[in-house]
């Protein structure tokens, strides 16, 4: 699995999760976002279009990052959840906690 990071024209850090976001690699996502926060970035979009599955550790890292970003006065949006991942967020009621857009484009427009 791997993460792709790019900075869009509006200054949004767009992080693509290619593969799984699970216990074995969640720290990579955490350090990507933490370093960006330290550099002064404040807008984050996590794009799940190419994501296979997410486990509870992956969900946990998203929750903790959303808190950190909010505490830093930043903004986090999620996009590209397939039906399985939507179910996952609904089951855990995390859909009420995150700003979720269907596509990365819609999410970017909302910043």
């Amino acid at each position: 699995m791997s993460f792709s990071v790019r900075r869009d024209a509006k200054g949004v850090m767009v992080i693509g999760v290619d593969g799984q976001l699970i216990v074995g690699n969640r720290h990579e996502l955490k350090s990507q976002v933490t370093e960006a926060l330290e550099r002064g970035e404040r807008k984050f979009l996590v794009d799940f279009t190419k994501t296979g599955y997410i486990d509870s550790s992956g969900l946990g890292v998203l929750v903790s990052l959303s808190k950190r970003i909010r505490e830093s006065g930043g903004e986090l949006r999620l996009a590209g959840l397939n039906d399985d991942l939507k179910t996952l967020f609904e089951l855990t009621k995390l859909d009420t906690l995150f700003a979720v857009s269907d596509t990365a484009e819609e999410a970017l427009a909302a910043f």
């Binding site: 074995g24 486990d55 855990t92 995390l94």
Partner: protein, 154 residues
């Protein structure tokens, strides 16, 4: 001479494909970096055994990843010398995923509901809940260091 121009004989075996139960077993060192590989391995063989792709892609992968991570972390305390034993029984109607660790076990009844209003925002505590939500049956042994997750084939 009257000979049928074309004659086909279909062989029918005494049991159909799903009627041959088998199992897959492996012993995994307690290394969280291996979770994905084990999940991939079991997923691949579950597809080869004819499980519906969505059951495999979502229910099986997520639930198995949770159970493996818990067994490695809480059961075996990430001691690589301790193994997590994985056994997948492919039965006619369902598959049974057995995950056992070498730890002291725990009481699953005492794990709180992570969707309670005061817990939704917590960093952790969703693993067991997800397993329960995604599988069709969940059983623990007495000690609490081994569980069996049942997924129906359909």
């Amino acid at each position: 001479m009257t000979v049928p121009l074309r004659l086909s004989v279909r062989h029918t075996s005494s049991a159909d494909e799903a009627g041959l139960p088998f199992q897959i077993a492996l012993a995994v060192p307690s290394d969280l970096g291996l979770v994905e590989q084990v999940v991939d391995l079991v997923a691949r063989h579950s597809l080869a055994a004819g499980l519906p792709p969505r059951r495999v892609r979502f229910h099986l992968r997520t639930a198995l990843a949770e159970a493996l991570a818990n067994a490695m972390r809480y059961g075996n305390r990430l001691d690589q010398a301790r193994k997590v034993s994985v056994r997948v029984e492919f039965a006619v109607e369902a598959i049974h995923l057995h995950v056992a660790d070498e730890g002291d076990g725990f009481d699953p009844a005492r794990v709180p509901d992570p969707t309670a209003p005061d817990r939704i925002g917590a960093d952790g505590g969703r693993g067991l809940f997800l397993i329960r939500s995604l599988v069709d049956g969940l059983e623990f042994n007495q000690k609490g260091n081994a569980l069996c997750m049942t997924l129906r084939r359909t």
